[in-house]
Every structure is written in C-alpha cells, then in structure tokens.
Assembly symmetry: C2
Homo-oligomer: 200 residues x 2
Amino acid sequence: MSPRNEEQNAAIKDERREQILSAGLKLFATRGFAATKISDVVKKAGMSHGLVYHYFNSKEEIFFELLKRAMQASAESLLMAESMPASPLEKVRQIAGYILGGIENFEESAYYFLIVSHASVMEGMSEENDKLLDESMTAVQAMVRILSAGQAAGEVRDGNPLGMAMVFFAAIQGLAMYKLAIDGFKMPDPEILVNMVKKP
Amino acid sequence: MSPRNEEQNAAIKDERREQILSAGLKLFATRGFAATKISDVVKKAGMSHGLVYHYFNSKEEIFFELLKRAMQASAESLLMAESMPASPLEKVRQIAGYILGGIENFEESAYYFLIVSHASVMEGMSEENDKLLDESMTAVQAMVRILSAGQAAGEVRDGNPLGMAMVFFAAIQGLAMYKLAIDGFKMPDPEILVNMVKKP
DNA sequence: GTCTATAAATCGATAGAC
DNA sequence: GTCTATCGATTTATAGAC
C-alpha cells in the first residue's frame, strides 16, 4: 500500500483542525472559556483526547484561533458593507439585517459574536489576545464613519456617532446572548436598531 | 470575659456573609461562574478558605444568592419606575438614565447586570436557578406595559413592544459588559435608547 | 496519524484543632 | 467563630504503543 503524500497529510491536518475548531466554537460560545472542558471538545469533535493536543498546544490556543477568526469576520463584513453603493442609513439597515438574520438562523456568526463577548471579559490572557481585542475596534470605527456620513447627509440623528455605534453593537451582543439563553427566542425586527439612529 | 450573645453572633454572621457576597459579586461578574475560584473569593473577602464554607454550602450557593438579589433589584426598580407619575416615554427616559448612570459610576448595579448575563448562559444549573431566570421577565414585562401605554398615548413608535423591550435590555447588558471590559469606556447618552422607541 | 493510559496540577469541599 | 491542613475529584496536558 502506498504511503500518504504530504498533500494528503496536509488535507487531513486541515480537516482535523476544522473539526476541533467547529466543536470549540459552539462550546466556548455557549459556556465560556473556563466552563468548557477539553473533554467536551473531544466528545463533540468525535476524536481522542490526545489527538486534540496533537493539533493544538493548549485549550487557550483553540480559543485564540477562534477569536482571531471572529475579529476578522466582523471587521470584513463591516468594511464590505461600508463599501457598498448605498446611502449611509441603508448601510446601517443592511448591517443590522445581516447580523440579526445570521443570529436568528443560528449560523456561525452568532457563536462568533459570543466568542468576542467572552474574550472581552477574560482577564489575564495572553498579550496577543489583548492585541486582537483592540482590532475589534475596526468594526466600530467603520460604523462610526457610516454614521458620520449619515449625519452629513441629514439621514442620521445628531449626537455622538461613537455612542450610537457602541449601543448598536452592545444591543447585538446582548441579543446574541438571549438567542442562546432563552428557548424559542425570536430576533426582533432589525428596523428597531435602525430607528435608533434614523433622523426623524 | 462575657460570652457573645445571639444577637452579636447574628450580626457577625451577617457581616461575614456580606463580605463573601461582596467579593463574589465583582468576581463572578467580571470572570463568570466557572472562571471564579473559591480561592479568589477567599482572598478578596480577606478570610480563610474554611470560613467561606462555614457560611455557604457551595460555590453555587454564593452565586445563587447574588442572582436572587440581582433579579429582585431589577424587578423592583422597574416596577417602581412604572408606578411613578410620569408619561410612558418619560418613564423610559428615567429608567435608561438611572441604569446607565449606575453602570457609569461603577455601582453594584453594573455587576448585578453581568451576574444575570452569566446566569443566562449557564447550563445544567439547579432548577431554582432556572426558576429565578424566569422571574427576570418581570422587568421585561413591566417595560412592555410601559411601551404599550406609550403607543396608546402616541408617544412610542408602532411595532412590537416586546421586541423593543428586548433590544432595550440587550443594549444595557452589552454596555455593562463594555464598561467592565474596555478601559476608560464612557457610557453613551441614555437618550440614544429613548430615541429607539420614541415616536418621530 | 490516532489512540489509551497516566502524569501533574488545580480546585471544590471537609475535618479537626484552637 | 476562625484557621490550617488535607482529601477527593476533576481537568489539562503528556508519553508511549500501534
């Protein structure tokens, strides 16, 4: 029988890593870092204890990789929405609809939002973690730019755009939490978030 | 030397319990239940390991007592605001200002909000815990009544009052998290939350 | 590459002295 | 009422066989 070549090994390696990350995503999101046991990840990923440590050096490393992806995903989707050909208020509407829709349908996005939430309140983590958290401001800054443009266009209320952006994301994080915590919770109309910033 | 009487013992007992609860409040709020070690509580409360277990039977019992207080406090303050002689929209304004002000000044209220957040995403806890969580709907229901009255009075936007109430509380929970997580974070203008429900 | 068995460290909780 | 010492269970991480 022929030995596996390097490409096949690399493919297996990627697949196993994704299995672990996929299992970790849901567990870390719903239970938090400390409350998630490696044995939970092992069980959900359907592999042995030792194999997880063959692909990741520690529990924190798994969480850290997920956090990195969460940051990148949120920053990218915000920057993409910002670059769309639409009015500022319409961009806000699209962003709200996109994110709340993703959470409602239990897509990965909901879990990623909660990963960020948990990371925010974790203290004493690696310096790299804190560095990543700073990057989370990319999405906030994009929203601030959109709201400022909306104010210039007379579509968005007067007031501090940063304050509005923070309330916007705070509400989304809180709603993501409710979605996981409250059985049968239905996401509210995204237009409620739009109304918050829409000029009367 | 005279022995302590029962009243003095009861006073000591109350004081020690409060020390433990006060330490636990901040730790559970900022780190979550699983990530908070009894040794952390011991250190912060300034007493021995064994003494904590003299006053509480388990780590969960400490958390549970705090959750009970959090639920009662939020329900009471909402019901009190509801009974005030003011227009529905003005009640919303007062509630938003009161809660955000409390969080801004790092009063206990911020920690209590996060206790509820953590309890929401904890699974496999005691049945009593779940029962308490149901009671958290008292505050939501009060807000729904206020918003409905506001709609009848033409002060509040049309739309599902429950959805607005959930976004309202979700935003507050998210902001409480930011306050603890982000160094130097300033609470936004409560009027942003009022704008969300105010009829144009 | 994958698994089982186990080491090493941590943590919640208890026992018993003062 | 309070403390120190320790048990017992759990959990992260590693070692070594296949």
